[in-house]
Every structure is written in structure tokens, then in C-alpha cells.
């Protein structure tokens, strides 16, 4: 077979092409196929109870960080507690979404104050808030406290300020709240059990 000049070039081109392909690292090795890394491997586990309904499901909360001094704990995952006799690790759609409750963009981060007639919130310190609220409560109580009724019976009640307590707060909070509310003589006092 006679190889012409042009044919020679053609063969060379193919050879160069082939070797450069090899140089590019063609025929790659088997691409890695691994499962996603297990995200809880070194997370800290804390037990809690679901804050929603009264089934009282046990929760496992996983947070980043090992509680070392310089690590700021961040909850990264919440799932059911398999040891819990009622939920046995299961959760409902609300419980399943608790992570986004903890991290809701609508979580409040600082005390705020709205002045009469104002259209907006202004930040306020805790101390300012407590001082102002206590002042308003005391003024109202001192003015409207009913020590005796029209029959002269001792009644010691304060009904011009009321309170609604949170039935999702703990017993400890509830107990303290009740103790405080009654010591003030409050009667206009309910919790969600009413509705």
C-alpha cells in the first residue's frame, strides 16, 4: 500500500489524537459512589418532649458541638425518641418539623415596645421593660384593687388586669405564674384549657 503524504498526515493525526486523549486522563477510574456522610456522627444528643399536643412524644435533639466552651450549640436535627413508650420514635408532621420551629425566622430575639398610637416596634432593654410593666401594673392595682365588696366582705381581688397563661409552658413556669398571679389577687386569669 502506498501511503501518500496526505494519508500520512491523517494517520499521524489519529495517533496524536489518541495519545493526547490518553494524556487527558480518559477512561477514568470508577467514579466514587458513596452514600452521604451520616450527619449525626458526632452530634450531641439531648432528650426533650414535643411542645405541641399532649401525646407528649419523646424527642431526640441533635446539636452541633460537643458543649466545649468555645462552641456555640446549634440544633441540627430532631427526631423521635425510640425509648419513649408512647411515640416509640415516631412523630407527626408537626413534631417532624420542629427543627424549623426552633429556627423559625419569626422567633423573637429582643424585647420590643410599641408606644400608644405608634405604627412600629422599638427595641427596649429587659430592665426597661420590667420597670415599665411593673409600674403600669402597680398603678392599676393600687387604683383598682378591691379589698372588700359592697357587703363589706373581704374579697382582696384585682380584676382590672388579667393574664392568660401558656399551656405549652412547663409545670415549673405554670406553677410560678399561678403563685405570682394569685399573690397579686388576680382573678382574670385563664389558660388555653378554657378554649
Amino acid at each position: 500500500m502506498q501511503v501518500t503524504r496526505r494519508q500520512f498526515f491523517r494517520i499521524c493525526a489519529a495517533g496524536v489524537g489518541g495519545s493526547s486523549l490518553a494524556a487527558l486522563g480518559f477512561a477514568p477510574g470508577e467514579a466514587l459512589a458513596e452514600v452521604r456522610a451520616f450527619k449525626l456522627a458526632r452530634a450531641t444528643e439531648t432528650r426533650n418532649t414535643c411542645p405541641y399536643c399532649s401525646v407528649g412524644c419523646g424527642l431526640l435533639m441533635y446539636s452541633l458541638g460537643d458543649k466545649a466552651k468555645n462552641a456555640h450549640t446549634e440544633i441540627i436535627h430532631i427526631e423521635g425518641d425510640p425509648d419513649h413508650p408512647v411515640n416509640r420514635g415516631t412523630l407527626c408532621p408537626k413534631g417532624a418539623g420542629l427543627l424549623d420551629f426552633v429556627h423559625s425566622p419569626n422567633r423573637l430575639k429582643r424585647p420590643e415596645y410599641r408606644a400608644p398610637g405608634s405604627k412600629e416596634w422599638t427595641p427596649i432593654s429587659w430592665d426597661e421593660a420590667f420597670t415599665r410593666i411593673a409600674r403600669l401594673m402597680k398603678d392599676d392595682r393600687d387604683r383598682n384593687f378591691i379589698a372588700t365588696n359592697e357587703k363589706g366582705e373581704t374579697v382582696n381581688r384585682w380584676v382590672s388586669t388579667g393574664m392568660l397563661a401558656a399551656s405549652a409552658s412547663s409545670n415549673e413556669t405554670g406553677y410560678l405564674t399561678h403563685k405570682i398571679a394569685r399573690s397579686l389577687g388576680m382573678l382574670a386569669f385563664d389558660n388555653q384549657a378554657r378554649v
Binding site: 399536643c53 399532649s54 415516631t90 407527626c92 419569626n106 410599641r114 393574664m163 401558656a166 405549652a168 405554670g174
Partner: protein, 811 residues
């Protein structure tokens, strides 16, 4: 719940009525599926809508919202007329044989003693006949015409299947099928559980609906047994706890009650509540009321509560009337309330008749909200377009919004619906400057106390003397508070049988309420929680889930009140001789050898009272037995009677067509001015019922992205027939309006909402889920309670959210 979540697996039949357990309590509903899978249990769902509970039921039948007493009354009639009751149980453990006072009567829908002007009853005739010995007169043969059995039989004879069907709209054959299934459980080795929730409570006659359900269960002998009971599926994680702790206008901790104005005498106050037994040999556990009361006052006021000052009796506020949330908003609306504190409560969304609530809040001088989330209530003054169209400039209320921690950021205990107190642990710091509720309450209180110390003021004694021995006064720790409500000995507590024997040393935690004393030697913030934190440590944090008897009792898991009992009234699971009715589900039994009751549960009974002593199982009742006849405990009568909702599509009560007084609940409290806000069927022809969806939790999860994703936008559900009449297709926007306002939402047109035949006319139902509002990450929507009427149950004042009238149109 009389029983508990896991115990549902022991049942043979589940009746879900007045609730929607699969959607509202999915993880508790699991135990229904377990009962179905492992005991071949059947599930009946009776509901105005074909719910997701109905989707997995064995039998579903519809009912018109608000007609449950008629349905259950019909079941009672069926059981009595077919004699399908648990005879031995009913005879020994209920008041069937008790004779009722002769002047008690019932005529055309109204019980004796009614005062139409006051809309209330003089209940003096509602009682048992008391003999010369001070005990109730009985007729064990049940033949006496005034015995409860005969009275009840007569009362419910009117609730025939035809009557039930025409009031409820339930097809008669469906109703009879439900009756037949329920009647099967009158056998002593069969049981039924009833699971209900706000579908029963949120009616103007809600308490009586629940009572009727309880009566059915008593007739069948299903109370106190494993797999039975009346199981209220409570809404919030600690709504049980807050009720137990008495955070309601008229309560003290542990279901003790505040005195009324007239109760000026301490001894009389206690005597009225420390019931004496009404039958021989009965325990009447409330006779210990004084011990509970004094211990609470010692916990609150410490050394300042003395025998001399009647344990600070006068420091308790006295009630001239109830101050439930409806009454308070009524007062607020009248300008009688100046300040309001909403701790984790969002009344603008959750109280009825938004326009009234919003207007009332605007009359406050100051409002304090304490919440982890930005609630609608905290922004009631802000204009949010069509969803909250107010003018901030006209609202002069000062508002404080205080950020609190959420569950993940605090330690503490919650009481589940099973009455189990469970401890939880903090996992992370709160965002920003948020503080725990305890810190916030302490912050406000300590400032107030400081002011009273400095300036004096109105009756400062209880404020200045409130016990506050917390190690960090500004942050009472959950551990300290838990120990305080569980109780401790202030002096050595000795055995009453042997005064030399010291049961608890001074300063030690108490083991339980049996150790409480009324001499000031014990302090216990909440007697029913007593024993939650003993010298052994925090029992609420116990995590041993072993179930040695295999019926799900797990006695070493956390701590249940009372005294770690898991099934209430469990003595009733045994026959009078102390043998379990169904040995395969044994809770307790009498062991003659040891002379004690014992088994898989803590006996809810005097542990050493032998069967032959004749003590009956219902030890909290002075009768010792369960009451079919409610005596004077209910506002509208000793026997539940069907009344129409305040707003009803029917002009008359079909049971009493001629008596307008007996149309709606004659004892329901309606404020002046609210009558006009009620709509009539001519303008508002459709029955509306509001409810929760499984994807959301009240008004919280619209702030939660994951939940907003799976149920993003407000909608209403209507049946195909109504949709066709109105030319509405699924996905159209509709306006639902009541006489109090309107909402606009997407229409879900479904076969699951059926048109009912009620008293010969068609009644359409409109279903409105509650979860939307003008704050949150889900699509904004109208507050559903814009529509609801400002009226509550006659006993509890729980608003009538479940049945009222609306009109509907395509937008």
C-alpha cells in the same frame, strides 16, 4: 384521659367522636392501629366530615355538628331498651339504685328550678334522697320509679332511632349499626374506648356531650378497665399540667377551688369541699381537702401562713363570678380592664369573634405578650391589609413584646394527656436575648415587689410574703420549682397510727400526698403532683420503659399523677369480689394473702380495703360510685339533654318543638349585645364547623417552614352538592361570612363533606380550618375566629367553635 395513650392498644372497639385523633394526635392514634392490628379491634368514626381518622376506620357515619347529645342519648336508649348493659358493674359501681328527690322534674326540655331571666337554675331539687342516717336512699332492685335507672330510662325513651336520625342527619341504619357495635362491649371481656377532643368541648352544650359519652361507657362497664375509659385528647403539650396546676380563673392547684365572696369563714370553706361519704363505708378522698389546701398555702406563703391567720385564707382573691376568657374580654370591651398579660397565648387568633377581641384589646392601657414567636395578638394594632385592617394611630394601647425561650432551650416538665409528668432537657441557647418564662415572670414580679417595698400600696401582704427562696432570685430554677410543687416536710411528719414513727424528716421531700398534713407541717404546691420529686430524686425524669405485664403500663417511665396511677378508677376493672373482669387485661386484683390490691398498676383505691368492706371504686365521689345523675354539678341539668347550638339551621329543638326556651342551651351565658350578633338560618343557612388539620398546630406552625410547605394556604371544605348549587369548583376562592364577619379562602370541594337530611330538610356543612393569620411564613390568611360566636359552654365557657351558621359565595 382516664386511661392513657398506650392503653388504647388493649381495646376492642374505638369510638372517635367529637375528635379527630388521627389528625390531631397521630402518634397517640398509633395505639388505635395497634389495637386494630393485634386485637382485631374495630374503629368507628362519627363526625360531620369524613376525616383522616375516618379514612382508616371500619365504619364511618356523618353527624350534624352540634347534635352529639341526641346521638349518644339514642345510644343510651338503645342499650337500655335492648338491655345491653353491664349489669353487675352498673349495679355496684354506679348510682343506678339511688333515689332522686321527689321535687326534681323535667318538663318540655327544661329541668326543675329554671329562671329564664337569669338563664340559670336553682339546683336545690337536683339531688338524691338522703335518709335519716345521712346516706342516700337506694333501691337495689332498681324498680322504684324515682331511682336513677328508671328516671334515666324514661328520660332517654324519647331518643328513638328515628328521632336521632332526624336531629343528627345520620342515616338510621348507620346509627343502628353503630349502636349494635357499641352494645357488643357490654360483655365483661369486651371493652370500648371513647376518644374525643375539642369536637365535644367547643359547643354551648359541650360538657354535657362528654357526660353523655361517659354515661354510655358506664352502662357498658367500660370505665376503669384496660382499653376503656373516657379519653380526652388534650390539645397543648401542657394543657393538662396547667389545668392540674389550676391556672384558671376559679381554681387553685390540684382542682381545689377558690372561695366565693360569701365564703368568709375558712372552716366552712374547707368543710364545703371536704365531702363526707354519702354511702356507708366509702372513702370520699376529697375529705382530705384541708390537708391539700394548707400545704399549698404553706408552699406559697411559708411562715406567713399560720393557723392564726387561717393559713392566709384572706390573701386568696374571692370570686364574685367567673372570670373566664370570655367574661374578661366582655369586661375589656366595656372598658373595665386596663392591663393584660398574654404568656404564650394568642387570643386574637384563638378567642371567638375577632372583631370583639380586637376592639377589646384596643381599649387596654397596656398589653404584655410573652412568646417565642411573633403572634397576631402582639401585632393586633398593626395594619395588615385585608387580614387586619386597623388604624394604629387610633389605638392607644402600650404593647410590650417579650421574647421567651422555646422547649428546646429550657429544662422542665410537661404533663401529657395520659397525666404523665415528663422531664425534658435544654439542648441549646435561645436566639438573641430571649429569656425563659420563669426569668420573665420573676423579672416582673421582683420589680413589683421592689415597688411595693419602697412605696407601699394596695394590700401588699401577699406580694411581700410570697415565698421566694430561690438560689438565684431572678431565675428560679426548674428543679427548685418542681421540688416546691411536689412538696416537702416543714417539720417531721409522723405516722398517724404510730406517732413515734417518722415518715419524713423535716426538710425532706415528701413521698406523696398521703403524707400531707393540715397542721402546717407540710408544704406542697400542687397536691396531685406530690411525689414527683422525692428524696429518691426526680421521678419525672425516669426512663425505664419496661412493661412487665405486656399491657403497656410502664410504671417506671416518668411519673403519673395521682400517685403514679396509670388507669384511673382501676378498682372498677374487678368485680365486687376483687377478681378482674377480664384476666387477660388485668390491671389490679385483690390478693387475700397479702391483704392488698396489686397488679400491673398502682391501685386507684384504698390499697388495703378488702372487697368485703364494700368500698366502691370511685373514691373521689362521696357516693363511692359513678353518677349517671349529675346532681347539682352541671349547669343545665342532671341528665344531658339535646339542645341546638346557639346558631342552628333548625328553628326549633325537634325534641321540644313547642318550647323556644328549650331550643338552645337554656343555661348558656350570653352577654348583652351578643344576641344581636347571632345569625339566623334564613340569612346564614349553612352549618359551619372549625377544626385543626394534621399538618399544623394551632397558630404556631404557620411560622414553621416545613409545615407551611405541606399545607401552605387557607382553605374551606364544602360538599359537592353545595359546590354545584353555588357554581363553585375546587380551587375557586370563596367568601364565608357569618353575622360577625367574613373570611376569604380557597374552596376544597369534596365528597367527604356530605349533605345531610335533618328533620326533612337538607343541611350543608362548611368546614373551616383554623391555622392561618397575618404573621408567619405560610401564606397569610384570615383569622378563622372572625366567624365564630361569642358564647361558650354553660359549665366551662369554652367557646362554641364547632357549630354556628354561615353563608357562602364565590368571590
Amino acid at each position: 384521659m382516664t386511661n392513657h395513650w398506650v392503653d388504647i392498644k388493649n381495646t376492642d372497639l374505638v369510638l372517635i367522636m367529637g375528635g379527630n385523633a388521627a389528625e390531631a394526635h397521630p402518634c397517640g392514634f398509633k395505639w388505635v392501629t395497634e389495637a386494630k392490628a393485634h386485637r382485631k379491634a374495630r374503629l368507628i368514626v362519627v363526625d360531620p366530615r369524613f376525616t383522616r381518622s375516618a379514612a382508616v376506620s371500619d365504619f364511618y357515619t356523618p353527624i350534624r355538628a352540634g347534635s352529639d347529645i341526641a346521638f349518644l342519648g339514642g345510644v343510651i336508649h338503645y342499650l337500655l331498651s335492648h338491655d345491653r348493659i353491664h349489669h353487675e358493674y352498673v349495679k355496684h359501681y354506679t348510682d343506678m339504685s339511688f333515689l332522686v328527690k321527689d321535687d326534681f322534674g323535667f318538663e318540655d326540655g327544661i329541668f326543675s328550678g329554671y329562671n329564664p331571666e337569669k338563664r340559670s337554675y336553682d339546683k336545690s331539687s337536683w339531688g338524691y334522697q338522703i335518709g335519716a342516717d345521712g346516706y342516700v336512699v337506694t333501691d337495689p332492685t332498681l324498680q322504684h320509679p324515682r331511682c336513677v335507672y328508671q328516671m334515666m330510662k324514661a328520660h332517654y325513651s324519647r331518643y328513638t332511632p328515628d328521632m336521632v336520625s332526624s336531629i343528627c342527619g345520620t342515616p338510621k341504619e348507620d346509627f343502628l349499626k353503630v349502636c349494635a357495635m357499641i352494645a357488643e362491649t357490654s360483655a365483661s371481656n369486651k371493652t370500648m374506648t371513647i376518644m374525643y377532643a375539642l369536637g365535644w368541648t367547643q359547643h354551648s352544650q359541650g360538657s354535657q356531650m362528654i357526660r353523655t359519652g361517659a354515661m354510655v361507657q358506664l352502662l357498658l362497664g367500660n370505665i376503669g378497665v384496660a382499653g376503656g375509659g373516657m379519653n380526652a385528647l388534650r390539645g397543648h403539650s401542657n394543657i393538662q399540667g396547667l389545668t392540674d396546676l389550676g391556672l384558671l380563673s376559679n381554681l387553685l392547684p390540684g382542682y381545689m377551688t377558690l372561695p366565693g365572696d360569701a365564703e368568709q369563714d375558712y372552716a366552712a370553706y374547707i368543710a364545703k369541699r371536704a365531702f363526707k361519704p354519702l354511702r356507708p363505708g366509702q372513702l370520699s378522698y376529697w375529705s382530705n381537702y384541708g390537708k391539700f389546701h394548707v400545704s399549698t398555702m404553706k408552699a406559697w406563703y411559708g411562715d406567713a401562713a399560720t393557723a392564726e391567720n387561717n393559713w392566709a385564707y384572706d390573701w386568696l382573691p374571692k370570686l364574685d363570678k367567673g372570670y373566664d376568657i370570655l367574661q374578661v374580654f366582655e369586661n375589656m370591651n366595656q372598658g373595665k380592664v386596663n392591663g393584660y398579660v398574654c404568656q404564650g397565648f394568642n387570643p386574637l387568633s384563638s378567642a371567638p369573634c375577632k372583631v370583639k377581641v380586637s376592639g377589646s384589646l384596643a381599649k387596654l392601657k397596656f398589653l404584655v405578650t410573652i412568646d417565642p414567636l411573633a403572634t397576631e395578638t402582639s401585632e393586633f394594632w398593626q395594619n395588615h391589609g385585608e387580614y387586619n385592617d386597623v388604624d394604629p394611630a387610633k389605638i392607644q394601647t402600650e404593647v410590650f413584646r417579650l421574647p421567651s425561650t422555646c422547649f428546646a432551650e429550657e429544662d422542665g416538665s410537661l404533663v401529657s394527656s395520659s397525666r404523665v409528668l415528663q422531664w425534658h432537657w435544654k439542648a441549646a441557647e435561645p436566639p438573641g436575648d430571649a429569656r425563659s418564662d420563669q426569668e420573665i415572670m420573676a423579672g416582673i414580679f421582683l420589680k413589683l415587689r421592689e415597688l411595693y417595698q419602697k412605696e407601699g400600696g394596695a394590700f401588699p401582704d401577699p406580694i411581700l410574703n410570697l415565698t421566694w427562696k430561690y438560689k438565684q432570685p431572678h431565675f428560679p430554677s426548674p428543679e427548685e420549682l418542681a421540688k416546691e410543687f411536689s412538696g416537702k416536710a416543714l417539720k417531721d411528719v409522723t405516722d398517724p397510727k404510730d406517732p413515734a414513727k417518722v415518715l419524713v424528716k423535716a426538710g425532706e421531700q415528701l413521698n406523696g400526698f398521703a403524707e400531707l398534713r393540715d397542721d402546717g407541717s407540710t408544704a406542697c404546691g400542687c397536691w396531685i403532683f406530690s411525689g414527683a420529686w422525692t428524696e429518691k430524686g426526680n421521678l419525672m425524669a425516669r426512663r425505664d420503659n419496661s412493661d412487665p405485664f405486656g399491657i403497656g403500663q410502664t410504671l417506671n417511665w416518668a411519673f403519673a399523677w395521682p400517685a403514679n396511677r396509670r388507669v384511673l378508677y382501676n378498682r372498677a376493672s374487678c368485680d365486687p369480689s376483687g377478681k378482674p373482669y377480664d384476666p387477660s387485661r388485668k390491671l389490679i386484683a385483690w390478693d387475700a394473702a397479702t391483704g392488698k390490691w396489686g397488679g400491673s398498676d398502682i391501685p386507684d383505691f384504698k390499697p388495703d380495703s378488702a372487697p368485703e368492706d364494700g368500698m366502691s371504686p370511685f373514691i373521689m365521689n362521696p357516693e363511692g360510685v359513678a353518677r349517671f345523675f349529675a346532681v347539682d354539678k352541671m349547669a343545665e341539668g342532671p341528665f344531658p339533654e339535646h339542645y341546638e347550638p346557639l346558631e342552628s339551621p333548625l328553628a326549633v329543638n325537634l325534641l321540644h318543638p313547642k318550647n323556644d326556651k328549650a331550643r338552645a342551651n337554656p343555661a348558656a351565658r350570653v352577654f348583652k349585645g351578643d344576641w344581636e350578633t347571632f345569625g339566623k338560618a334564613d340569612k346564614f343557612p349553612y352549618v359551619c364547623t372549625t377544626y385543626r388539620l394534621t399538618e399544623h398546630f394551632h397558630f404556631w406552625t404557620k411560622h414553621v417552614r416545613l409545615n407551611a410547605i405541606v399545607q401552605p394556604e387557607q382553605f374551606v371544605e364544602i360538599g359537592e352538592e353545595l359546590a354545584k348549587d353555588k357554581g363553585i369548583k375546587a380551587g375557586d376562592h370563596v367568601r364565608v361570612k357569618s353575622n360577625r364577619g367574613f373570611i376569604v379562602a380557597v374552596a376544597v370541594v369534596t365528597k367527604r363533606v356530605r349533605t345531610l337530611d335533618v328533620g326533612g330538610r337538607k343541611v350543608h356543612t362548611v368546614g373551616v380550618p383554623i391555622h392561618w393569620g397575618f404573621t408567619g411564613v405560610a401564606k397569610n390568611g384570615y383569622i378563622t375566629n372572625t366567624l365564630t360566636p361569642f358564647v361558650g359552654d354553660a359549665n366551662t365557657q369554652t367557646p362554641e367553635f364547632k357549630s354556628f351558621l354561615v353563608d357562602l359565595e364565590k368571590v
